[in-house]
Symmetry: C2
């Protein structure tokens, strides 16, 4: 099994070192191994978990909610249904986000067209 230094994890996940430490501090990432000297050693599992966090973060899930998900994940297999429910609810939230974005984008484009019609008149 591969293992990764903090710097390698920064490169692989795109999280800053400070963010990785922050996530560990608040309990969003747990059980990261250490060398005898105290340095973090990340495994492929850790990377996988961080990639899930990135996905949730980039789709706008608040940290409090990610924390809830992390808690469920730590609790074991009996929480799988609840985890799925949480992710599905979030999936719907993402749909809403996209819909709202598209709706506002239509207004934005109307405005752009309106400006263009102005220039057409006066030009």
């Amino acid at each position: 099994m591969q293992s990764y230094s903090p710097g390698q994890v920064v490169d692989k996940t795109g999280f800053s070192l400070d963010t990785l430490r922050y996530y560990e501090r608040i309990g969003l990432v747990g059980g990261v191994a250490r060398t005898s000297g105290g340095r973090r050693i990340f495994t492929d599992d850790d990377i996988g978990w961080l990639e899930i966090l990135r996905c949730l973060r980039d789709t706008g899930m608040p940290i409090a909610r990610m924390l809830r998900y992390a808690e469920l994940a730590r609790a074991g297999d009996e929480t799988i249904a609840e985890r799925v429910a949480l992710l599905e609810e979030h999936d719907r939230a993402v749909d809403d986000q996209v819909r709202n974005l598209r709706a506002q984008q239509r207004h934005l484009r109307d405005k752009i067209r309106w400006y263009r019609s102005l220039s057409a008149e006066s030009g």
Copy 2:
């Protein structure tokens, strides 16, 4: 021409009264009329401007950028091309946002499917 009290504007735009005052303070909204007693009176034009702000805000434009747009709008007709350029750039940013959201949503859905396949195995 219609005019609106602050409370009516809150209802029509969805901005809080504090946000309206904040926007005026920082110069995002300007030229709002007052009664002799100092109360704000909004016009249809003001409402229109606030609706643009809502559109830009809801599509993630930072306030600094909205401020730039407001500045251009105040400057008069010679800035129309620049305003269009700004809005078009933002339109592309919204496209990017939607694309990223959709890409991450695919990962999210993969994860949900993966959980489902787990339950199918053990159930």
